[in-house]
């Protein structure tokens, strides 16, 4: 209940937006997620309570973007900066959604929410004030790459919301960067709506500093013939959850997901994905990798839902995990729920450590053990990192990951 009191004490009822009121009302019936539900069962309760401990902060403190913009053509946006966006060029346009459009869309989404599955979204929307919600409508082609930043300030709980409409036939590369500060909590919810024939290469890179926390939720709706490619990377968080929900509203769409989470010390990072096919001929290729070291805990739970209508669905899901320490833990649970009969669905999961034979081979060739393990890890990371748009040539994530090892 505390969190609700906190939001309320920050503002009087009159200052709350309609959406905040709706979400608060919903949260009141279940102020905390049900720990018995599969989605929250493994979540570390004390870490979640630390997440909620920080005081709610609506104002943004200036922050340094961790790397400089190399190319002039990249479009950079910061959620909460609150400067009007209106870019209309020959081939494309990027405009802010009007207040009405935003309200209407978010309300519609809330009506589909399920208390446990969307608890993070409810929390986000009840915390997010007008300034911290960014709504964009993207149209056209040959759009320069877009980077969107969202960050938390130290010793506070920040909530940022992003809504993106991708109009018909639009094609874009978009990188979302979530930055955690020391002792901070960030709640980030993203709503993506891909109209017919649109396609997006979406990257989500989240990294924190000491004791930073993150609740990151991503809701995607794909209309016919759209293609959604997601590359994600989460690391350096005391506690992080990445919840992905993708709905192919009429089938005939393609989804590719490559995600990775890296945990060290006593961190806990989890990824939950739910992919629903609501029409025929859907396609999914998903791989999720985890690496757990020290005393950390990595969790992956992915469900694929294929109802009767989704004939000829082709879905595959793979969970690959590296467990590097005796005290670390990995939980993985890929699931299939299928009613349609003419489908091809498969999933796989592995948990192991670095391949000893490969290590041995490299060592016989004079490579030291540390270097050999680095080489192996880099090939393990590379598959995911190369799938994240924009970042690959400008910002060497791989280096960052390996040098911190």
């Amino acid at each position: 209940m505390e969190i609700i009191e906190k939001i309320k004490t920050n503002k009087s009822d009159d200052n709350l937006t309609e959406i905040q009121k709706i979400c608060l009302h919903k949260l009141q019936s279940s102020p905390l997620p049900n720990p018995k539900s599969e989605l929250w069962r493994l979540s570390n309760k004390s870490k979640l309570s630390t997440f909620l401990d920080y005081s709610v902060n609506e104002k943004d403190v200036k922050f340094d973007i961790p790397y400089s913009k190399n190319s002039q053509s990249t479009i950079r946006l910061i959620i909460g900066e609150n400067c009007p966006i209106k870019l209309i060029e020959k081939n494309y346009s990027i405009q802010q959604l009007s207040e009405d459009e935003l309200q209407k869309y978010i309300k519609e989404q809330i009506s589909f929410f399920k208390q446990n599955e969307n608890w993070s979204d409810l929390l986000n929307l009840s915390l997010s004030c007008k300034n911290n919600i960014l709504g964009l409508k993207i149209n056209g082609s040959k759009i320069p790459p877009i980077e969107i930043f969202s960050h938390a300030s130290s010793n506070s709980l920040n909530a940022k919301t992003l809504v993106i409409f991708l109009e018909k036939n639009c094609d874009v590369e978009l990188l979302q960067v979530n930055l955690g500060k020391e002792n901070s909590s960030l709640s980030q919810s993203t709503f993506f709506c891909l109209k017919e024939n649109s396609s997006v290469n979406h990257g989500v890179v989240s990294y924190g500093e000491n004791r930073s926390n993150l609740l990151n939720s991503l809701n995607v709706i794909q209309q016919k013939n759209s293609a959604y490619n997601l590359g994600s990377l989460h690391f350096k968080f005391n506690y992080a959850r990445f919840e992905i929900s993708i709905k192919q509203s009429a089938g005939n769409a393609k989804t590719n997901i490559k995600g990775m989470q890296i945990t060290k010390k006593d961190e806990q990072i989890s990824t939950y994905t739910k992919i629903e096919f609501n029409g025929p001929n859907g396609f999914l290729d998903q791989i999720n990798k985890s690496l757990a070291d020290d005393k950390s805990h990595a969790i992956f739970e992915g469900s694929i839902i294929v109802p009767k209508i989704a004939q000829k669905t082709d879905a595959s899901q793979l969970s690959r995990n590296l467990l590097l320490s005796n005290l670390a833990q990995i939980d993985t649970k890929p699931q299939l729920e299928i009613i349609a009969d003419d489908v091809k669905c498969k999933h796989g999961a592995t948990i192991s450590q670095l391949n000893e034979e490969e290590l041995f081979y490299m060592r016989t060739r004079g490579i030291t053990l540390t270097e050999a393990s680095k080489l192996q890890l880099s090939s393990y990371f590379q598959e995911i990192i190369s799938f994240i748009p924009i970042s690959k040539d400008k910002w060497d994530l791989l280096d960052k990951l390996l040098n911190e090892n």
Binding site: C345, K346, H347, Q353
Partner: protein, 480 residues
């Protein structure tokens, strides 16, 4: 183009074990309370430790809640509307099969169970359980020569109380889960097997469970102990008559394997599944667990699940001993409105332990078939390995197949591999077989049998042939 209706027609076959034996039975009043438990215990002339075990379990059960996490939907069970003890009336003590009521023998004859002398040639020792009691165990003398004890659990309580007291409830404690607690409180009969040190059991042992009465539940308990360097293969079969009401079956099976021992436990479960509208059928809630206590011990579960309206069953292995091995091979077939939530648990505790899981699910009609499994590597399970494979086959667009594998590792020096796939009967393969002059139904049956081959190969020979036939019969009429 495959004709959907044709395929559907292949899964339909009337349940041929649905007859009721008209025999006088001794039943107690419906309902469950401490007095009922005391009465059961008294009827079975049990020692005090067992009555205490039952009462303790009952107390725990009263505090527990029926689990609801399985992907199953069924109407609430009224536990007070069940008869907890039912036995065919017969002479007090049976010294030979000639004294068994001929009607009972006839029943088992109809089921094809070799109880009578002329059928003993098959070289399988059988313990036949009818409702709540064991009515006959064959080949006892031959087994006794090798020191093997094979009898009903009630007899074991009288004659080998020390073993029962030592091992009962050590693998599946009374508080393990709701249905195990219920079973511990009211279990009526079941089989007991003890294989002494160094003995390889000279023949396959088999139990046959038959529910005859419509309003009594069946709660059998099986305990198998394999001493050092011994080995045994145990088969279990089950049928029940057709009733419009649902009958509860909550069994517990405990296996214990000491150093270098091996136990192979095979089940062909063909309880009555209810009719096409889902009326009647057995609610099958079973807790089966084996403990690989000794070094290099091995427990292997193989099961063919074709019956029951509801199946809730997860035969598991606790791999404690160094280099111990757990195996699980399963075929689960659901049709009409059947629901099955079944799988296994492989808990790796000791070092260098290995486990293999092969699960094949076939869902037809409006049925629901879920695989739910857990593989866990504990902190001490260095050098352990697991391999799991779960395949589902869907027949018709109304059936559903789910896969829920839980995988947890706390040991970096161990490997877990899991794979699962879902498919349908391929039209190309059907077309190919048909173009070679093979009848449609036979082609489907061949493909289903091929799909299950990995599991059937693990079954004892007589069972494998039976399972193949059973599957073909069950599928008759539903593939199209």
């Amino acid at each position: 183009m495959v004709n959907e209706n044709l395929v559907k027609d292949v899964v339909k076959e009337p349940y041929k074990y649905g007859f009721v034996t008209d025999i006088e039975t001794e039943k107690i009043e419906k309902g469950l309370n401490e007095d009922v438990i005391k009465l059961i215990s008294q009827k079975k002339e049990e020692p005090k430790f067992l009555l205490d075990f039952r009462l303790k379990a009952f107390k725990k059960w009263q505090k527990m809640k029926e689990p609801d996490w399985a992907a199953l939907g069924y109407k609430k069970i009224d536990y007070q509307n069940i008869i907890y003890y039912s036995a065919p009336k017969q002479k007090e003590k049976i010294s030979s099969l000639d004294e068994v009521d001929p009607k009972l023998l006839e029943t088992f004859d109809k089921l094809g169970i070799p109880l009578t002398e002329q059928k003993k040639l098959t070289n399988v020792a059988v313990d036949a359980v009818f409702d709540s009691v064991s009515i006959a165990t064959t080949f006892r003398e031959e087994l006794a020569e090798h020191g093997v004890i094979f009898c009903s659990i009630s007899e074991a309580v009288k004659n080998h109380a020390d073993l029962i007291e030592k091992y009962l409830g050590t693998v599946v404690p009374a508080s393990d889960n709701y249905f195990a607690a219920l079973n511990s409180a009211v279990f009526s009969d079941g089989s007991f097997v003890y294989i002494p040190k160094g003995v390889t059991c000279p023949m396959d042992l088999s139990s046959y469970f038959r529910i005859n009465s419509g309003d009594s539940g069946q709660f059998e308990r099986t305990l198998i102990i394999a001493e050092e360097s011994s080995s045994v293969s145990y088969l279990e079969g089950c049928t029940a008559p057709m009733f419009d009401t649902n009958t509860l079956h909550a069994a517990v099976v405990e296996l214990i394997a000491l150093d270098d021992a091996s136990i192979k436990y095979s089940t062909v479960q063909n309880w009555y599944a209810g009719d096409e509208e889902g009326i009647g059928g057995i609610f099958n809630f079973v807790t089966k667990r084996g403990k690989c206590l000794g070094k290099r011990s091995k427990i292997s579960w193989s099961q063919v699940e074709t019956g029951s309206a509801i199946t809730w069953k997860y035969p598991s292995c606790l791999l404690l001993g160094e280099e111990s091995v757990g195996e699980f091979y399963s075929v689960a077939l659901t049709n009409n409105l059947q629901q099955a939530d079944t799988g296994t648990k492989m808990i790796h505790i000791g070092p260098k332990t290995k486990s293999t899981i092969v699960s094949k699910g076939i869902s037809a009609g409006n049925s629901k078939n879920s695989y739910r499994g857990l593989v866990k590597m504990g902190t001490k399970a260095t050098g352990s390995r697991n391999y799991s494979q779960c395949d589902s086959m869907l027949i018709g667009d109304q059936a559903s197949a789910n896969t829920f594998p839980y995988i947890k590792s706390q040991q970096p020096n161990s490997e877990i591999e899991h794979e699962a796939s879902t498919c349908r009967i391929s039209e190309d393969q059907l077309f190919y077989l048909q173009s070679r002059g093979i009848e449609f139904e036979e082609a489907v049956s061949m493909m289903v049998s091929g799909f299950c081959r990995d599991v059937f190969n693990q079954l004892p020979m007589e069972f494998a042939a039976e399972a193949d036939k059973l599957l073909a019969l069950k599928l008759e009429g539903s593939v199209g």
